[in-house]
């Protein structure tokens, strides 16, 4: 099937024998890395990893959890919470306006979704950041939902897995947002004290307040290939220090080399790997 596309697609688009508008909406998608046009149903079975260049295409939070958790028995936790405008923040737009457009862009109320479910029948709590909601930034509701997810894991003695992808703290909530770093880290400490596994899965990109809190604190830190993860963004480092950054700077491979993560795992192996690691961690656990 893939071969059929490789041969057919570029030519008929070049010839213009089929107008773009006649391609059913949502059936084709460009790979942002190699620019090849991909057939969405095939992309879906390939877990949104580019069939041509292996680029891990950005997934929505809900999709991410759907692919990770077993199909039956999932339940969303702390559902329907919307951001709060603590500071009446206003830049060129009000925070309220930004929240409205984020809701439209993502079809979600906030940048974190938390679910209870199973992975190959192993019960756990899983959270995923929604990057389309204000760049996955962590405001008070994200922090609160994360903590509620951890609390659910604690009271039910379950492992917790978080898929992070985030620009960092949410500027519009300033210090309230900064404090979420401490709040979520404190909750993770409770997981550690309870000897319950907390697995951090790093998804491209993670910076600032999310990188410097919940994303780095996994019992096991995993990253998808080529994910960008760091404290300060590359643009800021370049501008501040007037330097050129080395090739591959802050990519998963760089993190692995410098000891920040335990492993890089291809998306197709993620579910199996996380399942195996958690099973290993809890195999001798005294409850």
């Amino acid at each position: 099937m893939a071969n059929w596309f490789e041969k057919i697609l570029p030519s008929f688009i070049r010839k213009g024998s089929i107008k773009k508008s006649t391609i059913p909406e949502g059936l084709w998608q460009n790979c942002s890395a190699c620019n090849n046009i991909l057939y969405v149903p095939e992309l879906e079975t390939n877990l949104y990893v580019c069939m041509k260049c292996d680029h891990h295409i950005r997934l929505g939070a809900r999709k991410r959890l759907e692919l990770f958790l077993d199909t039956s028995g999932t339940k969303e936790l702390s559902e329907g919470k919307s951001p709060k405008d603590w500071l009446k923040f206003k830049d060129t737009k009000t925070y309220k306006e930004r929240i409205n457009s984020a809701e439209k862009a993502s079809s979600e109320n906030e940048a974190l979704i938390v679910m209870e479910g199973t992975v190959n029948k192993l019960p756990l709590v899983a959270a995923a950041f929604e990057f389309r909601f204000m760049g996955g930034s962590m405001g008070s509701v994200v922090g609160q939902k994360f903590v509620e997810g951890v609390n659910h894991a604690l009271s039910n003695q379950l492992p917790f897995v978080c898929f992070s992808t985030s620009g960092g703290a949410r500027m519009q909530e300033s210090l309230v947002s900064l404090y979420q770093m401490a709040k979520t880290s404190a909750a993770i400490e409770k997981m550690h004290q309870a000897h319950l596994p907390y697995i951090s899965v790093m998804i491209d990109p993670i910076y600032g307040g999310v990188s410097a809190s919940l994303a780095m604190l996994g019992d096991i830190n995993i990253a998808e290939p080529k994910a960008l993860v760091g404290f300060t963004g590359p643009r800021v480092i370049e501008q501040t220090l007037n330097v050129q950054l080395p090739e591959g700077f802050q990519r998963s491979e760089f993190l692995l080399e410098h000891g920040a993560i335990d492993m890089i795992v291809h998306r197709k192996d993620l579910k199996e790997t996380v399942h195996r690691l958690i099973s290993g961690l809890i195999s001798n656990r005294k409850s």
Binding site: L87, S140, L178, S185, G209, T232, V236
Partner: protein, 315 residues
Amino acid sequence: MVKSYLDFEQPIADIESKILELENSDLDQDQINKEVIDLNESAVKLTEKIYSNLSPWQNVQVARHSERPHFVDYIERIADEFDELHGDRHFSDDRAILGGIGKIGDYKVVIIGHEKGRSTEEKIKHNFGMSQPEGYRKACRLMKLAERFNLPLVTMIDTPGAYPGIDSEERGQSEAIAYNLKVMSSLRTPIIVNIVGEGGSGGALALGVGDHINMMEHATYSVASPEACASIIWRDSEMAAEAAEAMKLSANNIFELKLIDEIIKEPLGGAHRNYDQASSQIKNSIINNLERLNQIPLNDLVEKRYERLMSYGAL
């Protein structure tokens, strides 16, 4: 010491230079004294007026004032003893964060804080108070030391933020900060946090989890520096004043949001006008709170700290 003035303090500077002029004039001494008293009075009134109504951006400038007391200035005045302890035991001794064992009042404590440095040479040595991972890891080592020997922990925050460098990233800047947050949340000893100057981003918070959080009247505390916030949101760092306004980074605003416990009054015209007075204000609060926190059983103390962390931004 020659006073230096911020732009918005120009009217005060004018009066004070008039006073100086008078004092060096040939006029009759009684006449001089009388006029100086009047001028002093109006300078004080004007300072009170200006400082009671600082804009957020003016507040930022005071918090960053080149003469604002730093960690070493406070230590000199607050601690009767201080033995600095060096190094993270892994890589180096970061000079942007200093720490050691000291004595405040009758209490032996571990003190940790950012140091910006004052002269150009010092600023470079202390990297303008911008720590690398080693600094946070040294701080963490000292926090655990405090816990192990039942010494209360006192921290002082004054940093534009964590250092944005290639080497910092290589050595795990994010992890170093995150790990401190985790450790501080459950550290079994009282922690008193003092935001004395600039509280910038995760680099500040990495020393900022505690049981009693003080903030100096003209200090600032925010998720990012105004310049960084402006460049992220407005895509223009020139909009820093607007960002300072929007982020509500002043002590009053933060107190209203219940994110700090106490505002420490500063000498008229800012802490840099009177180091001794500023120091004794902080010292009093630290001693009062050490007395109070020492009476709380450790389990309750840590549990209360956790509950407070959970209350931040809870809906």
